[in-house]
């Protein structure tokens, strides 16, 4: 596989010789985060607070997987084989945000992830859709329309748990504050690869992304008694190749993401 610059650009298992180009890294991190988020949502289809909530979780999981599929397909023109990217990489080659490395412990984790991780993804997608990559400009607006229901869902549950006070509010705050540092580092990377992407006009500059994120989250986070200004992005151990901090998603989740158990049945 050869990238635009004529260099080998495998993003999957062995044989990698160079890091993916800035645009490819950006698409991979969006797609992998959506795929993992879909898996974490799907864990709560049964066991969520009501049948309707479980149905919404199911629909949101399907949205995320559909969006991931569309994003992986964008890699084709970057010299990748989307099938290999989706179905062959080990956990250590996933570019998803660290907040999704482990399953959600409880409903507070789920709610915090809808607001923090899904929210950060939506801002990243807005930025990408406004840039110069034509496929993003044409495909992402429909994703964002679907994401609007995720935002409503997350904000309503966040407000509900925050207003409940006591243990519910404390757990919600703890969950959101645990997810925010690594998610902000992911949303606002300070590395040369990302600067190149900005310089190419593919995405908004960091300042505008931060501003948009604050616009989106200020009101909802305030209900739990804190703001984005209270949170420092966690940049320790930064891996510029995967655009994330140390660690990797759990193997069990990656096996599901790759579809290992159904490999013999693939008909694509």
């Amino acid at each position: 596989m050869t990238g635009a610059a004529g260099t080998r650009e495998d993003a999957y298992p062995a044989g990698r010789e160079t890091a993916p180009a800035p645009l490819s890294r950006h698409i991979l991190t969006l797609a992998d985060t959506k795929r993992l988020l879909g898996i974490r949502y799907s864990d709560w289809i049964l066991g969520s607070p009501s049948i309707e909530t479980g149905i919404a979780a199911s629909s949101m999981a399907q949205d995320e997987w559909g969006h991931a599929r569309l994003l992986y397909a964008m890699l084709k023109k970057q010299g990748f084989d989307p099938f290999e990217v989706e179905h062959t990489r080990p956990a250590g080659r996933y570019y998803s945000v660290p907040a999704l490395d482990r399953p959600f412990a409880d409903w507070a984790d789920f709610t915090a992830a809808v607001v923090v991780v899904d929210g950060a993804l939506a801002v990243a997608l807005e930025s990408f859709a406004a840039g110069s990559f034509a496929l993003a400009a044409s495909r992402i607006p429909k994703m964002l329309a679907e994401e609007e229901y995720h935002r409503r869902f997350g904000f309503a549950w966040f407000a509900r748990l925050a207003a409940a006070g006591g243990e519910a509010e404390a757990r919600l705050r703890e969950a959101a504050l645990a997810m925010l540092p690594s998610t902000l580092a992911w949303l606002l990377p300070e590395d040369d690869v990302h600067e190149e992407l900005v310089a190419e006009g593919r995405v908004w500059p960091g300042g505008r992304v931060r501003e948009r994120c604050e616009e989106r989250l200020a009101g909802v986070l305030g209900q739990a008694g804190f703001s984005l200004a209270d949170v420092e992005p966690a940049r320790g151990g930064w891996d510029p190749e995967r655009r994330r901090g140390p660690g990797a998603p759990g193997e069990e989740a990656v096996e599901r993401a790759r579809g290992d158990r159904n490999r013999a049945l693939f008909v694509e």
Binding site: S50, T53, I55, A56, S59, Y149, F153, A156, R160
Partner: protein, 80 residues
């Protein structure tokens, strides 16, 4: 977390602008905002032009005093 205070919302939708709104089901939700999300995500089998939700308690009976969702009422008193 405190107990969940669910309310019932009736869901109405139409496929195109000229269609009448049709009752397509209901959702239990703890508030208007989640009722909207639950309705949209639960009844997503069609590409709806418009969907709305109405709190069941807002429905005012006209000719049958017990209203459309009464159950197990004895015969008589207008209940055949």
């Amino acid at each position: 977390m405190s107990g969940i205070d669910e309310s019932v919302y009736e869901v109405f939708a139409r496929k195109s602008r000229g269609d009448p709104l049709r009752h397509i089901g209901y959702v239990d939700a703890p508030g208007v905002e989640l009722a909207r999300v639950y309705a949209w995500k639960t009844y997503d089998e069609e590409n709806w032009f418009e969907m709305c939700v109405v709190p069941r308690r807002a429905v005012i009976p006209v000719n049958r005093p017990e209203g459309p969702w009464a159950r197990n009422l004895p015969a008589g008193a207008g209940n055949p």
